[in-house]
């Protein structure tokens, strides 16, 4: 069980200052738009926090682009909306932190070969729920999610969308319970990303063969036998003696996956 409530709260409250700037090529007005500054939750997704920003920039762009799908890049790297914001920051800025995080906003030339389309927030919700279900298949053979009611699923999503810690954790705690008679999950939902964004997902047990708790050091040896690496999540380099089960219970994103960058 996720018992370290202070840790859960600290992770939930993690925020990033972001500075949005409109791509110069998009600006049709003589007057330059001010950049748009906002604090965003690390655990959220960009489509959930950029309505105001979009309205701010819309009046400066060509009207023929106004109905186009908006997208953002950092240093020329298009940002995938279906990854949590904090993870994107760790991936692209983890080695060289900069705040505010300055991102460029576009209303044309959508890079459809890299980004998924996101016409509305329902698409974000569908992606989110599907990822939680996948995590539950790994942890409990999917039994917890399928036993829940639709309103419980909604509560998870609304808790995340509206930044309501108690609402979210009232349901999410059930997803963090151990599987069957074990003192842990069947497998740990974990995605590890290389610097170029390539994702590796493997079947990882929270225990070693002898039944002892697996720690990060052992995971690194298992996945990177040739060269030891450091792993980062939520802006933290994960201490090597951290047990995987504890990490999964406390430092997973709301989609119930650990999103970890190799550094």
């Amino acid at each position: 069980m996720a018992n370290d409530r202070e840790v859960l709260r600290e992770i939930w409250d993690g925020k990033l200052p972001v500075c949005f700037q409109l791509d110069q090529e998009e600006i049709m007005e003589i007057q330059q738009p001010d950049p748009f500054y906002v604090m965003v939750p690390r655990l959220s997704y960009f489509p959930l926090v950029i309505d105001k920003m979009k309205r701010h920039f819309l009046r400066y762009i060509s009207q023929e682009n106004a109905d186009n799908e908006m997208w953002m890049d950092y240093n020329g790297q298009p940002l995938k909306w279906h990854y949590p914001i904090g993870f994107l920051y760790d991936l692209y800025c983890g080695n060289d932190p900069q705040t505010p995080w300055t991102l460029t906003v576009h209303f044309s030339k959508f890079p459809g070969n890299i980004l998924l389309h996101c016409p509305n927030k329902d698409v974000v919700e569908a992606h989110y729920m599907s990822t939680v279900k996948e995590a539950d298949v790994l942890k409990h053979r999917g039994q917890i999610m399928s036993a829940m009611q639709k309103k419980d699923h909604n509560q998870l999503w609304l808790g995340l969308q509206n930044d309501k810690f108690d609402q979210f954790w009232a349901i999410n705690r059930r997803l963090m319970e151990s599987h069957g008679d074990n003192d842990g999950f069947k497998h740990i939902p974990i995605r590890i990303y290389a610097e170029d964004g390539t994702c590796t997902q493997r079947l990882i047990s929270p225990k070693n063969i002898d039944g002892s708790r697996k720690i990060i050091q052992q995971l690194i040896t298992e996945l990177y036998p040739e060269k030891p690496v450091k792993l980062r999540t939520h802006g933290i380099t994960i201490p090597l003696d951290t047990p995987l089960q504890w990490l999964s219970e406390h430092l997973s994103y709301p989609d119930n996956f650990l999103h970890i960058c190799v550094c």
Binding site: K80, H82, L116, A126, H127, M129, S130, T131, K133, E134, V137, L138, G142, M145, S146, H187, T198, C199, T200, Q201, R202, L203
Partner: protein, 118 residues
Amino acid sequence: MSDEKAENVSQSDSQVENTKENGDSSKTDKVKVDILLKATGNAPIMKKKKWAVDAEKPIGWIVEFVRKYLKLEADEKLFLYVNQTFAPSPDQIIKNLYDCFGTDGKLVLHYCKSQAWG
């Protein structure tokens, strides 16, 4: 169904190989994995269900392949599910799903034309 041969999805692929006959696919440049495509709900059945595909390809590529195979219209939808539970992200790599959810040496994917498992 299980005695059906695995065939390459991409006919234009230079390495036309059959993973069933040529089990040691690691010797070739591209690692291939077997996927089994099963129709669900109102989706038409595919005559050939088992395919050997490049493990590094994203799921979106499979979706496009099935759409073409079934000759779906542009406005028709196609959903793909793993474990009859969740819809993987189109940019998820097949290898990741195969490693985590593959059984008996293959990854089973259900497809349908309407949302089946939410």
